[in-house]
Symmetry: C2
DNA sequence: TCCTTATTAAGATTAATTCTTATTTAAGAA
DNA sequence: TTCTTAAATAAGAATTAATCTTAATAAGGA
């Protein structure tokens, strides 16, 4: 149940993975897009746009924060990543496209994934049909992560 | 299962309800705080700070947006209301303190409540214990609300 | 290799939220 | 009831996340 996220991709692997998806969507595959995808795909840290920017500036010193935001939006539209609602006001992004849910630490804001396939395939209350057409479901568990509990003991 | 939210409180009722809570917390009960609480408590529309501001300016023309934000933060700390993660970047607030979950329309952003007591009392996956101490759980269902479905037909 | 058009970088702009400071007021004491 | 004082407010400035504008660049097909 404790699935690990795939390893970080090489640029060539990422290009290979994205090539057809981008071609079909009729949009260009730029080095910026490849690098930004690699940053989100290769980690389960749910990075913010800012965090990705800080990281990528090292390899691509002229990249602009606007490109990060635009590309994250593009990747979101393509269904390659998801925007996660966080505690603070920065959006966080997630390339784990397997069905999963989030544990959010109310102390430090860290987001970790958990899996619950039996919930994913169970039926929701009938009442919900009256609200509209359902597209997805997601559980947010809030609490204090083990690391913050440790710190508090001291 | 389709619980209705309580009616809007009179200022006197709100004062009565908040008096001890504020006294115990050692903070002052101002007219602004009473009015802001009434706005969130008496509705299930999950208003934004901006929406509350626009509404209250009519009765209290000199109230400032900063007071709205500060007071919402205070009410949140007291556990009287909750901050809801919305689709757009404005926070939304909710004084429905009964256990409930949200249906969020991806078209118009409207948030509606639903109830699922059997989920609330069911046990979560064991795996989660390793993440930390759990304080709460909440389901977000995304979809297209009946109103937006109607509009699309036309 | 060349062309066309989408994409990018840079910096300006917007919008939500928070901070600073002088003024006002709630609530307890006299 | 009036006084006192710390806490709360209003106003406007500041900050920060995110988006927009525009001129320069580069992807990808011809």
């Amino acid at each position: 149940m404790n699935k690990k996220h795939p390893e970080r991709l090489t640029p060539a692997e990422a290009r290979n993975m994205l090539k057809d998806i981008f071609a079909n969507a009729g949009i260009k595959l730029t080095p910026q897009r490849i690098e930004i995808f690699r940053e989100v795909y290769g980690t389960d840290s749910h990075p913010s746009a800012e965090a990705i920017y800080d990281k990528l500036k090292q390899k691509m010193p002229t990249i602009s924060i606007d490109t990060i935001y635009r590309t994250l939006g593009t990747l979101e539209k393509l269904g390659l990543i998801n925007r996660v609602s966080a505690l603070d006001r920065q959006s966080r992004f997630d390339a784990n496209t397997e069905k999963h849910h989030h544990f959010i630490c109310t102390e430090c804001g860290r987001i970790t994934d958990f899996y619950w396939p039996s919930f994913d395939s169970s039926s929701l209350p009938d009442e919900l049909k009256a609200h509209g057409r359902i597209l997805s479901r997601h559980i947010e568990v809030r609490g204090i992560c083990t690391e913050c509990l440790q710190k508090k003991k001291k």
